[in-house]
């Protein structure tokens, strides 16, 4: 490719500028978190004596241990079930192609662009009537339903590319449809499944609206939901609020940095399919 030097240079400068703009809010948050609590520090000034204890204070008073456990429980409830149900339906729509599969799939796809705000009001009354308000089930069950359109679409896109011959061979060996699914197709679907798991984990962990509407007790919410309560509690103590925010976004950030290649790939593909 013919690219001249000046173009390359502008490219680098632009890219670096964009990276700086992306990172500065994080740095500002971090630096502010190190100032004495109750002060209004200036933008990016490094404190005279960094208050590392702010993180411990925020961890304690926000009951961060409890919050982590709560979010983990919600993720553990949502992600495996969504994966299983989405894979089964995606397998049927993409591979078994039973009579009427087109219409069935279309009905799922209809939910793809649905904003959560569109159903939050009746959902509240439904969850209340089910007696689940203020329990983690109030977040887990609706999220499984709300993630279904995307999960089904994602897994169907995988199964549609699977050659028929694989199944024919297994059928000749006498496999039932369930065995075919369980022992042949699920193992082959591992890459698609792990990308989907990453996306579902992220969306669950960061879910805010359902958490604040359906669960009053911050200790039973997702991390993002708890952060909302956190802001109400400490809206005026900027350094502690910043320390708390950092603690709350640290888990996703860590997971992202460890699995970043998969993350970026999954998120890019995810938006293409959505």
């Amino acid at each position: 490719m013919i690219v001249n030097r000046r173009e390359t240079l502008t490219g680098r400068v632009l890219l670096i500028l964009l990276m700086v703009i992306t990172v500065v809010p994080f740095i500002s948050l971090f630096v502010t978190a190190l100032h004495p609590s109750g002060t209004y520090p200036d933008g990016l000034s490094w404190p005279d004596s960094p208050q590392w204890g702010n993180f411990a204070d925020a961890f304690r008073s926000a009951h961060m241990g409890e919050l982590l456990l709560s979010s983990a429980l919600i993720v553990a409830g949502v992600v495996p079930v969504s994966l299983l149900l989405g894979t089964m339906a995606g397998f049927a729509f993409g591979h078994l192609r039973m009579p009427g599969h087109r219409i069935g799939f279309l009905i799922f796809v209809l939910g793809l662009t649905l904003p959560f705000e569109g159903i939050i009001t009746p959902l509240y009354y439904q969850i209340r009537d089910m007696g689940l308000l203020n329990t983690r089930w109030a977040i887990i069950l609706p999220l499984i339903g709300l993630f279904m359109p995307f999960s089904v679409l994602w897994m169907r896109a995988h199964f549609v590319t699977m050659p028929e011959d694989i199944s024919e061979a297994a059928r000749i060996d006498g496999a039932t449809t369930w065995q075919l699914f369980r022992s042949v197709h699920v193992p082959l679907a591992r890459p698609a499944l792990s990308s989907l798991a990453i996306l579902l984990f992220l969306w669950t962990w960061n879910q805010f609206l359902l958490a604040i509407v359906l669960v009053d007790d911050p200790a039973k919410r997702t991390m993002a939901g708890a952060l909302g309560a956190f802001q109400g509690q400490w809206g005026t103590d900027i350094p502690l609020l910043c320390a708390g925010s950092l603690l709350i976004l640290a888990p996703t950030l860590t997971v992202f940095l460890i699995f970043q290649r998969r993350f970026v790939a999954a998120l890019l593909q995810g938006s293409v399919k959505g």
């Binding site: 680098r12 964009l18 149900l85 339906a89 159903i119 499984i144 549609v160 993002a224």
Partner: protein, 308 residues
């Protein structure tokens, strides 16, 4: 719909010739659990949203049928309608800036796509996508506050006159919220567009250069047309993010000052759970869902046609 499904190597399904197995209907058993969850927690509430929208109900007592009154009120009362206009203004920021900036940046860094810098950028630019929107809201609330970094920078370059509490000022609050959204989405768009560019045949560029095209001609003649699909995806994702915005606004401004940053998502939340106006909240919810469909479907059609 999978936008790429057209290019996927699909097994030729020959419905006529394939003999239907006795267990052909069995597939529905595999769909049943997913369908159950989807019906109970999405379709059922969606139908009830439509039903509630025709009633005057405070969520506790008896409800009264009011026909289309909730809707007529929404479209005739300027204050009620404002959130919808705000949502469209946010599209300029959530969608316009990330797509234009993303195109520009992706095009200029195409040449260095394999360098270490580009690899680091891939990670860094994605950071805003990974953290909760709530956290983005808190970060930026602090940056844009009267003692925050934005004002400090303005003062440093001698523009003290411009400093203000950006999120607390009637004139700047909505654009400030828009900037937060743009910050979140610009990295996603840049990387999506870069990924699209990497699929363009380099020979096209070689021949364009031989014909004497400069970088700008090249961009409009080759890059832009080839990215039709990716641009469609960016616009779809960001328009939905703008119309259905909630988290950032809830944290950064709560809809204020006044109602200057009130968006449909937040208004639904307040109407339903603070003001106990379930009917009006539901009418707005129906309109929001319809708006998303009206905005997104043409974009999907536009990109699908480019596929042929």
């Amino acid at each position: 719909m999978a936008i790429r499904s057209g290019s996927a190597p699909r097994t030729p399904a020959a419905p006529g010739r394939r003999t239907r197995r006795p267990g052909a209907w069995l597939g529905w058993l595999f769909v049943a659990p997913a369908a159950l969850m989807y019906t109970v927690f999405v379709l059922r509430p969606l139908l009830f949203t439509v039903q509630y929208s025709f009633y005057d109900w405070n969520g506790i007592g008896a409800s009264t049928w009011v026909g289309l009154e909730n809707y007529t009120r929404l479209f005739t009362d300027a204050e009620q309608f404002a959130p919808i206009l705000h949502a469209f203004e946010l599209i300029l920021f959530f969608s316009g800036i990330p797509v234009v900036l993303g195109l520009f940046v992706a095009a200029t860094i195409r040449g260095i796509a394999t360098s270490r810098l580009a690899l680091v950028a891939r990670t860094v630019l994605f950071l805003p996508q990974v953290i909760p929107l709530v956290a983005a809201g808190i970060m930026w609330t602090w940056l844009l506050s009267s003692t925050g970094l934005a004002n400090e920078l303005l003062s440093a370059v001698g523009l003290e006159g411009l400093t203000r509490a950006w999120l607390g000022d009637f004139g700047t609050a909505l654009p400030a919220v828009g900037v937060i959204g743009a910050w979140v989405l610009v990295g996603l768009c840049t990387l999506l567009l870069l990924a699209g560019m990497s699929k363009i045949d380099p020979a096209l560029y070689e021949s364009a250069r031989l014909d004497g095209a400069g970088p700008i001609r090249e961009f409009f003649a080759i890059t832009l047309p080839s990215l039709r699909q990716e641009i469609g995806v960016c616009v779809t994702v960001t328009v939905i993010a703008a119309l259905a915005s909630f988290d950032i606004v809830y944290i950064a401004t709560q809809g204020g000052p006044g109602n200057s940053t009130m968006v449909p998502g937040l208004e639904i939340f307040y109407l339903a759970f603070s003001e106990r106006e379930v009917g009006r909240a539901s009418a707005l919810a129906v309109v929001l869902v319809a708006l998303v469909l009206v905005c997104v479907l043409p974009i999907q059609r536009f990109t699908r046609d480019g596929n042929r």
